[in-house]
Amino acid sequence: MLARYFVRRLLAAVSVLWLAVTLAFVALQLTPGDPAQALLAASGATPEEIAQRRAHLGLDDPALIQYLRYVLDLARGDLGQSWLQGRPVGQMIREQLPPTLALAIAAAGVGATLGLILGVVAAVHRSTWIDTMATTVAVVGLATPTYWSGLLAILLFSLALHWLPSAGEGDLRHLILPASVLGFALSGSVARVVRARVAQVLRAPFILVAEAKGLPPRHVLMSHVLRASLGPALAVLALQFGFLLSGAVVTESVFARRGLGTLTVQAILWRDLPVVRGIMVVAALAFVLTSLAADLARGWLDPRLREGPA
């Protein structure tokens, strides 16, 4: 049963990924303008040189041939070449990935922890002022753009208190503010799901049984309620992957950090479309892998899921 669930999930993931990759290709084809001309016109190249460059970039081939070449290249891990720099897109992304990844992982840790705490506390103290407080924090977190909370954090912790650096990257101290700001924004959606789920689990018969057995409340909460609530929390974290990456792009800009965000903004301003496309493809691949991993983890955590429809 588990194997069939995994295979079904895998097939769905592959088809979504293929479509996403194809959409990214079509978008680039629809873009007006001639990349070879844009690249060389500024340097005063002759029409012959431009034609030569077109042939070199494979832009004269029929769209279908270009598409097949693109997909085969992707399968070999080749994301194409930057129009602007002439360097492999894969290499450019690999260079900028580590700081973005560090930020995203740290923020996910902060967001998951804060969201779990807020959600559990709100659900356990349902309909009391504690619930109201915890829910308010979550709702405010959801509504606050990171480019504002980030500036407020810089104002307070860097400019007023001089505790933490306001910009750049380097040691862990540079990571604390951006990761907290992005994690706070993430915690709202985690808290909402966890609160609903824990409230539901607390009413479940098996919790009544656990309490009737005489288990101490702390034990019931930690090993029964939390375990049953982890699945949805995982799922919402995986769904928030895109939010995390989007948020990382903005947060990098606020804290003047190097990373994928800067690369993307530059590529768009210069209309370096292969770079934009490469980043989209990598992001889609990462999203599909994350949600696949979360699905598999949930299937493993919660046997009931393995049998339901896809």
Partner: protein
């Protein structure tokens, strides 16, 4: 406090929260509408000798690095930000509603095909999707509205589909089919009409998200040209003077956050009312 008292107290609290939210939204729209009356000299007048003045009697919310009034830019900027948000939301609903409704009311293979496309678009992080659209369209205020609308449409289509599927399972849809209603009539007169309250709630919740995205693209410098009075752009321009004039970035951010918060709270209340909680 007894158990019977609690829900009543909670609901009065919620009601006042909703009233305050709607009041704020109304205030923002009104401020944007009467901006020429509130700040007759417009948002663009620079006055370098009066640069970086703190909030006070001179300028209610202070001045920015070029001596422009933050208050005037805030109300004029509300016009740009709200217009962008409204355009983007209309585009998201205009695209997402028919696709989601078709998938949800036809079900079967049409649903499968349409949703695969929607899932593929949802595989891209929404901000990156909007940025990619900007890479194709070029930058500008209109481009940002289109990009955000396109990026928001897949999520809306998904919600419309799932609500439509729920309604479709109701016995009265089977009855409508039995008396010979066409697919289109069932989709619009029966499924859409019954799904509408939930769909309005989600659109309202998406308004907050769309505003954050549009201002984010402006903040990143991919939208409005520098100098445009727009909340995201004001934040970006104020950032460089954070140490000397924090009010130039604190107020536009506060206006944006409160507006998003109000839209979200109103959407939640509406959703609760729909579900009869």
């Amino acid at each position: 406090m007894t158990a019977q008292q609690r829900p009543a107290r909670r609901s009065t609290l919620l009601q006042s929260v909703v009233l305050v939210s709607l009041g704020w939204l109304g205030l923002v729209v009104l401020g944007a509408a009467v901006a020429p009356l509130l700040a007759p000299s417009g948002p663009l007048i620079t006055d370098p000798p009066r640069a970086l003045l703190p909030p006070g009697p001179g300028g209610i919310l202070g001045t920015d690095f070029l001596g422009r009034s933050v208050g005037a830019r805030l109300v004029w900027g509300g016009r740009v930000t709200l217009t962008m948000g409204t355009l983007a939301l209309s585009l998201a609903v205009g695209l997402g509603l028919p696709i989601g409704l078709a998938a949800g009311s036809l079900a079967g293979w049409a649903d499968g095909v349409l949703m695969r496309f929607v899932d593929a678009l949802l595989a891209f992080p929404s901000l990156l999707l909007a940025m990619a659209v900007l890479a194709v369209l070029g930058t500008g205020v209109e481009a940002v509205a289109i990009a955000v609308g396109l990026a928001a449409a897949p999520a809306y289509a998904r919600v419309v589909r799932s609500v439509s599927l729920e309604v479709r399972a109701q016995p009265y849809i089977e009855a409508a089919r039995a008396v010979g209603c066409s697919h289109l009539r069932i989709a619009v007169r029966h499924i859409l009409a019954n799904a509408a309250p939930s769909l309005i709630a989600f659109a309202c919740a998406q308004l907050g998200w769309v505003l954050i995205m549009a201002a984010a693209l402006n903040f990143l410098g991919l939208g409005a040209p520098p100098g445009t009075p727009e909340w995201g752009m004001m934040l970006a321009e104020g950032r460089g003077y954070l140490r000397y004039a924090p009010w130039a970035s604190v107020f536009p951010g506060l206006a944006l956050t409160l507006t998003v918060l109000a839209a979200n709270l109103a959407a939640n209340a509406w959703q609760d009312a729909v579900e009869g909680v």
